[in-house]
């Protein structure tokens, strides 16, 4: 029994969360440093995972397996394939920046020294770490039930993060802001909970099916996949489709896919920038990840059956999200809709069922995480300076705060996937991967890149260029802490944009496995070109 590395990666932040929460009220700063230290330690462990992972090896590695709830056929089964590794790495990577960026977000308002028992700061960072732990577990879970448990459970800390620590720059007066916040939080929770409960029904159904055919019910992904491969387990067409829908719905809410997206702009708009990053860059990835791992893995036929519809939805998301982003007045909501558009790309890539598409989608998850983090966090810094989320309240920032403007621009360029920055690689892969099998879809999606250019550049022009706007005159440029957050992210964007090979090497084999699950192979080129 080797050292349970994956458990450790998840357990570390969990323990850290408890410890942080336990820090006494007076020692606020200590809590922050503790949280930062824990997140960094987690990053180190995640790095170890990444290095211990052998792309050429088995599909799932670093596996752990213990019975958990025998009656439900539930096992505590962990294991990572390349996709899991990539996303765990992403999560572990982003959290330190989230912590650092949110350094002052949960400080008590000036003047109001809270009573001893109410410790928002500790709670804030503890919750962030808790989310990290749960996300990592769900990326590593190879047992459907185990995954589901954390898929659902992570809603609670997220819910408190959104509702409890809203964007103070948000609304006019605190009461109004609080109303908006709790609306956003409740909407987030209920939306995802509803999706999750539908999934619960499907999970139970899955158990019933396996119990019916394999003698005893199981949730082990590998077991089910093998059983299906060997023909022991055959699902009736309709059953499989229903179950698929149950799963897919939950993931589509999480992802989020049009028309189940409306919770995201509220959630991202009302929460602080770091939390918004947590939502869109980390937590939502669980949804797309799960489509890739569970929807395709468990229900290949149904996935093939649903593909046309899903592709259509993805395309709608891409265009719709971009158009709405153009129409936004609120910086953070704009970024939220941009994310919806990007999630459209990810889903498109996943269901294109080609190695480029799915590889691209996986890269997309990572790159979108980083780029959105960069853009959103800089936007957060900007907003915290001016105290307003409205684009109209800005102008000419680049004159007073060139570095801030510059980083914002780079973040934006990443978002519109400029070559040389990471998102280009993934976006182009998704497009090509889609085009090879569904040319029409590929072409439609390609128009997304123009719209992306529109919303990013319009945003940049309105906020950063032109004559210096009122309230912007003496806006300070990025501070050291803020630079420490943004610079590494940008460096990563460039690195992964120029030399993504290490990532693709890890991801490719996993994608091949997934494709073999759905018995799909890349279409051959029409002409075998002279090499």
């Amino acid at each position: 029994m080797s050292f349970p590395l994956l458990t450790a990666v998840a357990a570390l932040p969990a323990i850290g969360a408890v410890a942080t929460a336990a820090v006494p009220a007076a020692r606020r700063t200590a809590a922050k440093w503790l949280a930062l230290a824990v997140s960094l330690a987690t990053l180190v462990l995640a790095a170890v995972v990444a290095f211990r992972f052998d792309p050429g090896g088995d599909r799932y590695q670093l596996t752990e397996s213990h019975t958990w709830i025998a009656d439900f056929g539930v096992r505590y089964e962990l294991g990572v394939d390349g996709i899991g590794v990539a996303l765990i790495a992403l999560t572990a990577l982003l959290i330190p920046f989230v912590v650092l960026a949110g350094w002052h977000d949960a400080d008590p308002l000036e003047g109001t020294e809270p009573d001893r028992r109410w410790r928002p700061t500790q709670g804030f960072f503890a919750l962030i770490l808790a989310v990290e732990a749960m996300v990592i577990i769900s990326f590593a879970a190879t047992d459907v039930f185990l995954f589901y448990v954390f898929f659902e459970a992570m809603l609670i800390p997220m819910y408190f993060l959104i509702g409890g620590f809203g964007d103070r720059a948000g609304a006019r007066d605190e009461g109004e802001a609080a109303k908006q916040r709790s609306y956003a939080a409740v909407k987030f929770l209920l939306y995802n909970l509803a999706g999750g409960l539908v999934m619960l029904a499907a999970v139970i159904g899955l158990y019933a099916v396996t119990a019916d055919q394999l003698g005893e019910g199981t949730f082990s992904l590998q077991a089910i996949v093998e059983a299906r491969a060997s023909g022991e387990l055959t699902m009736a067409q309709n059953t499989e489709r229903l179950l698929f829908l149950g799963f897919f719905l939950a993931f589509a809410v999480k992802a989020p896919l049009w028309p189940l997206h409306t919770w995201l702009p509220n959630a991202m708009g009302e929460s602080t920038a770091p939390v918004a990053v947590l939502i869109t860059a980390v937590v939502d990835k669980v949804g797309t990840f799960a489509m890739l791992r569970f929807c395709l893995g468990l229900f290949p036929e149904a996935s093939a059956w649903a593909t046309p519809v899903v592709l259509a939805l993805a395309l709608v998301s891409i265009v719709y999200g971009a158009l709405l982003a153009i129409g936004q007045r609120d910086i953070k909501r704009l970024i939220a809709y941009a994310s919806i558009s990007h999630f459209g790309f990810i889903v498109l890539g996943i269901f294109a069922m080609t190695s480029q598409g799915q590889g691209g989608a996986t890269l997309y998850m990572v790159n979108h995480g980083i780029s959105t983090a960069a853009l959103m966090l800089v936007a957060g810094f900007l907003i915290s300076r001016r105290g307003s989320r409205l684009i109209a309240d800005y102008g000419g920032v680049q004159k007073v705060a060139p570095v801030l403007a510059g980083t914002f621009l780079i973040g934006g360029l990443a978002t519109l996937s400029l070559p040389g920055l990471a998102p280009f690689v993934s976006e182009f892969l998704v497009l090509v991967g889609t085009f090879t099998r569904y040319p029409a879809a590929g072409i439609v999606a390609t128009f997304g890149i123009v719209l992306a250019a529109l919303y990013v550049l319009v945003l940049y022009q309105r906020t950063m260029t032109g004559p210096v706007g009122p309230g912007v005159e003496r806006m300070p440029d990025l501070r050291k802490r803020e630079l420490a957050v943004v610079a590494p992210l940008i460096a990563l964007l460039i690195l992964l944009g120029v030399f993504p090979k290490p990532l693709t090497d890890i991801v490719n084999p996993a994608v091949e496995h997934t494709l073999s699950d759905v018995q799909k192979t890349d279409p051959d080129p029409e002409v075998e070109a002279a090499k």
Partner: protein
């Protein structure tokens, strides 16, 4: 020879001297005995000493009864040695022992909240609990004032509690209709009285008692009539006999009985009335309407006890009835139960949304949960039984805990149960709010809480039992239900505290323990339910 002497003669040979397995009846006997002793204490022990004496006695009794249950279980009475005792009046088998165990534990915890006397401000320098100084006195009248001044407390609640527990112990174990009926009354009557004994808001408390009593009596009348009909159908009230009559084909013994014996109409009507009597206790729609009012009016510790223990006992009896007596009628009762379950889940969840009183809110949520449990009952499989057992265990502790927390939030008028007063509780006392949030999340069935494990078990059983549709409805209902649980959490954490808002009383170790136990069980059953699931599944077989 006249018919009477003939009858008596026959009676003599029919009625042998009963032999009673006292050992196996120990749990019941201990509790009832203690209750009797309690009454004597009321009679003879001086007032000052009563509280201590009663509380200790009750605690002791319940604990030892639980020990006895454990002993029996250890002796294999739950599995291999399961059988009928007291001339087949009672069954000592898995479900019975499991449920008795749960009931006893629940009542132990409830007892702690009963005995709590730090919450109410001291009256004339004396600690007082949440029960009326003198139940009989007119609210606000001279008599009451005098009683308060004299520092009276209604220590009768302990014997009453014990009687109720005794009845509840018998209820799920009852193996003939008569015992069932008696047990029902034995645990109902004390509850009626307990409901009337609130220290604050006495008018509401009395009203609750009245409603509960009248409707309870009404329902037990139905139950009794159902019993009569079933007796008429089978000529016996023993479960086994009835079952066999239902099962065997050659019906009718004598010409005279041809009209009645084995007459399915009798059977069906009787069964329906019987089931209705039980559904009333369970609080399933449309027999639920007493629940909100009684839950709100009764003293909160009693509400907690009632909500938890009564459900356990009643569902136990229902299970036994459906699985032992009426298995032959599965195809008759199942569809009906489907209906009841669906209506209960939906109505409970929907109506709860607009509630403004915590206790009423919990009442409606308990209705919804009754629906969920029924979904497991309907499964009509061993896994169905065990899932229900597990759910009951999980649910009862969450309920207890929740109501215990409710007792802590108080203002000048006693407990501040109006939701608006809970605004910003999370800021005032994060811990209490967090604990309550945990219970709410458990009610909502969020993973890693016992609520989720239970819900999963039940739905799983239902799905396997071919009640997939029920699962879907259940899921929808849970989604709706989630809304109002979340609403309370929002209220506690995300809204600004009211200036004149309630304060959170610092309880004595008693209530603290009660709540702690509730939280512990909630989390343990949520994270590592395996052991208890095993227990439940071992206990999943009825003795016939």
């Amino acid at each position: 020879m006249s018919t009477t002497t003939e009858l008596t003669l026959r009676a003599q040979e029919m009625i042998p001297a009963p032999d009673i397995e006292y050992g196996q009846l120990a749990p019941v006997l201990i509790v009832i005995g203690a209750a009797v002793v309690g009454v004597l204490i009321e009679a003879f022990v001086p007032r000052r000493a009563r509280y201590t004496a009663q509380a200790l006695l009750a605690g002791l009794a319940l604990a030892s009864a639980f020990a006895a249950v454990v002993g029996l279980a250890a002796a294999g009475r739950a599995t291999t040695e399961a059988g009928l005792v007291a001339m087949g009046a009672l069954a000592v088998d898995g479900p019975a022992l499991f449920l008795q165990g749960v009931i006893l534990l629940v009542s132990l915890v409830a007892l702690l909240t009963f005995a709590e006397r730090r919450l109410d401000p001291r009256a004339h320098g004396r600690h007082v609990d949440s029960f009326a100084a003198e139940g009989a006195a007119v609210p606000g009248g001279e008599g009451e004032k005098a009683a308060v001044r004299a520092g009276f407390t209604t220590t009768e609640v302990y014997p009453l509690l014990l009687f109720a527990v005794g009845g509840m112990l018998v209820f799920p174990a009852a193996n003939d209709l008569l015992t069932l009926f008696i047990a029902l009354e034995v645990f109902s009557l004390p509850l009626y009285v307990l409901c009337a004994l609130a220290r604050r808001k006495r008018l509401m408390s009395q009203e609750a008692a009245l409603k509960y009593f009248l409707l309870g009596a009404f329902s037990s009348a139905f139950l009794l009539f159902g019993i009569a009909l079933l007796y008429g159908y089978a000529g016996s009230v023993k479960y086994a006999d009835i079952a066999s009559v239902i099962a065997d084909t050659n019906r009718g013994t004598t010409e005279a009985l041809a009209g009645t014996t084995g007459n399915d109409v009798l059977l069906l009507i009787g069964g329906a009335l019987l089931v209705m009597g039980l559904l009333f206790k369970v609080g399933a729609v449309p027999f639920h309407m007493w629940t909100p009012d009684v839950y709100q009016g009764a003293p909160t510790p009693v509400t907690g006890f009632m909500a938890a223990a009564t459900k356990v006992a009643a569902f136990g009896a229902l299970l036994r009835l459906l699985y032992v007596v009426l298995p032959g009628l599965t195809w008759d009762w199942r569809p009906v139960m489907w209906g009841v379950a669906i209506v209960s889940m939906l109505a409970g969840a929907v109506i709860a949304i607009t509630q403004t009183d915590v206790k009423r809110l919990l009442a409606y949520s308990s209705i919804a949960h009754a629906g969920f449990i029924l979904a497991g009952v309907i499964a009509a499989t061993p896994s169905g039984i065990s899932s229900v057992l597990f759910y009951l265990a999980a649910y009862s502790f969450v309920t207890l805990g929740a109501f215990a927390v409710v007792t802590l939030v108080r203002d000048a008028g006693g407990e501040a149960t109006h939701l608006s007063k809970w605004a910003g509780l999370g800021r005032r006392s994060p811990l209490v709010a967090a604990v309550f949030a945990v219970f709410l999340l458990a009610f909502a069935g969020i993973p890693l809480t016992s609520g989720f494990a239970g819900k999963f078990a039940v739905f799983k059983a239902a799905a396997e039992g071919g009640a997939g549709a029920l699962v879907v409805v259940g899921v929808i209902a849970s989604a709706i239900a989630a809304f109002f649980y979340i609403r309370v959490i929002v209220l506690m954490f995300f809204s600004e505290p009211k200036v004149e808002g309630p304060s959170v009383a610092v309880p004595s170790p008693l209530t603290t323990t009660a709540i702690a136990v509730g939280v512990a069980v909630t989390l343990v059953l949520g994270v590592a339910p395996q052991y208890f699931l095993d227990l439940a599944s071992q206990a999943g077989v009825f003795a016939r």
